[in-house]
Symmetry: C2
Subunit: 329 residues, 2 copies
DNA sequence: CTGAAAGCGCTTACAG
DNA sequence: CTGAAAGCGCTTACAG
């Protein structure tokens, strides 16, 4: 059994009130001698107040819940890392949960997090909450919820949007400058995410440069390495593309594997560009050029929002817009 | 303000005792009618007991702390994933913290986790705790601590050891069978980890096959991609090795990059073998053959230990031994 | 400068 | 079958 405030008070020869006040920096009125005596006993006994007892009064758990679709997905992981750094500096604990992309699991997790009284929730989700009354005011059972969904849902605390268009457009422009005329596209199959903006940028870039958009150059695939492998294999077999733009780094990795297996030389016979700019693109050789997400900025934005939402749950916040970037080096 | 048990009692026309008992499956003695009435009100109001108030009595947070040296290190991540799966099934929450390999940060985190009353702590650490009185009995301030350190520290709840020797030996044997006579070694520089067992297996395997151990074939490097790159670059420049055994997958990745930059063809001119068998080895092409850690088994072992330690903090447990494996396909 | 007392939301003997 | 009361460990008006 851990030691209690009562015991500390007894040992220091004061009342529990005194101990409590001194412990919580509200002891200005006590004599220096008393303060020292109490602090010494606290130190000696290595006492710290019972977390639950304090919280029942303070109603603060200093804990924030984060729901991500998949721990191994690098987009969310990279952002969560930033969020974590940011929020832990402020003395918050993070509980990170995995939803497997499923709306139902998100509900269960929201419920659980509410039960353990997290102070706020950051929800990475591919799902639409537009109709959800419970979450309409940015709250799930009184707890502020901030969406980290690239602007899919209109959050009460302002939407965080990412301009993907300009970065993708820039990447395509670069490929065209490099002399590529037949550029394949590996895009999502709209299973979880709809990466329409990236598709639009691809089309617009080709069009602006008088290139014809060939249906056969476009493959819709699950956003996985296997998806990329299969899509690229088909492109290599059926078309004459000399470059492939992948709407996701995992697709690009699969693409690399397919090019390798086809015996072609990367960057010489086939150039691959990815999207997200994750670590993995820097690990393989040759490095994958990839449109980079503003991870740091996004992490800060979400962390800021949840912090402000906790402090002022009724205050609405501005929308924020961030940009991806493309740098072929 | 969330609704309280008092309010539920009022709405159901019963006492708080009744509500509490029914809520905690101790309501056998109440009439079916009462039970239904109470449960209905609870449901209607979407009531759940205040987490802190319950815990102050139950003294259970259902939370477990996990300390890892580095979130992006794949060895610990892969195991934590298993631990998480296992423990969340049992209704525990995990709080995962990062120590940056530092003993001092571990101390701060242990302190913090104790303060928020986690029920147990799993400590991934490269540091020695042998002398640490506070943790001698497997506890830090009453909280059970299980070491996840490959058997470095002698834990109160039994040591989890990994036999690395046989797997590394097998890998070297395979290289020799493949005809390699000059095999380089990239090993740790003993900064955080001392991978002596892997080194021993390398030496023993060469010796058993009448191969001379050349000092120039062995490079000590930090366990990073950069370390692997630099070590391999030196080996390729200074020696005639046709294979390189890397004591860590990150070294192997760096190795791959160095071979690529040197213009040599992987698996034809240089064969690289790694250690850990992480995902990354399956992403690059050609795939990296790598000695595989028993992630699943390790995760289960740590999860089991902490669960039992929580339930029976004074019971000592058996040591456990797991094996790495090597399968060149 | 200090402390007795009420109260946070809950659970659990105990009495009827 | 049911509830009044004590108590968990703490904080916070309030009185002196």
């Amino acid at each position: 059994m851990a030691i209690t405030i009562k015991e500390i008070a007894r040992l220091a020869g004061v009342s529990v009130t005194t101990v409590s006040q001194i412990l919580n920096q509200k002891g200005g009125r006590f004599s220096e001698a008393t303060k020292q005596r109490v602090l010494t006993v606290i130190k000696e006994q290595n006492y710290s107040p019972n977390y639950f007892a304090s919280n029942i009064i303070a109603k603060k758990s200093k804990t924030i819940g984060v729901i991500v679709p998949d721990f191994s997905e690098q987009f969310a992981s990279a952002i969560v890392r930033e969020i974590k750094r940011h929020l832990e500096e402020q003395g918050y604990y993070l509980i990170i949960c995995e939803s497997d992309h499923e709306f139902e699991k998100e509900q269960v997790l929201l419920e659980q997090l509410a039960k353990i009284a997290v102070e706020g929730i950051i929800l990475f989700t591919p799902n639409l909450y537009d109709q959800d009354q419970r979450i309409r005011k940015g709250r799930y059972q009184e707890i502020p919820v901030v969406f980290a969904d690239r602007g899919l849902n209109e959050g009460y605390y302002g939407t965080v949007k990412i301009d993907e268009f300009s970065g993708v457009y820039r990447a395509l422009e670069w490929l065209i400058e490099e002399g590529h005329r037949r550029i394949g596209l590996l895009m999502d199959d709209a299973e979880h995410y709809h990466l329409a903006e990236r598709f639009d940028a691809y089309r617009q870039a080709l069009q602006d440069h008088q290139l014809i958009i060939e249906e056969t150059h476009i493959k819709q695939m699950p956003l996985t390495i296997e998806g990329g492998y299969q899509g690229a294999t088909e492109l290599l077999r059926e078309t004459e593309v000399s470059a492939i733009f992948c709407c996701d780094d995992m697709l690009a990795i699969g693409c690399y594997q397919a090019v390798f297996d086809s015996g072609r030389v990367l960057d010489q016979e086939i150039t691959v560009v990815g999207f997200d700019g994750g670590e993995v693109t820097q690990i393989v050789r040759p490095k994958i050029r990839s449109v980079r997400q503003p991870y740091k900025e996004l992490g800060n934005a979400y962390a800021d929002k949840i912090r402000m939402a906790i402090q002022q749950p009724d205050r609405q916040m501005d929308d924020r817009l961030f940009h991806v970037s493309f740098d072929p080096e």
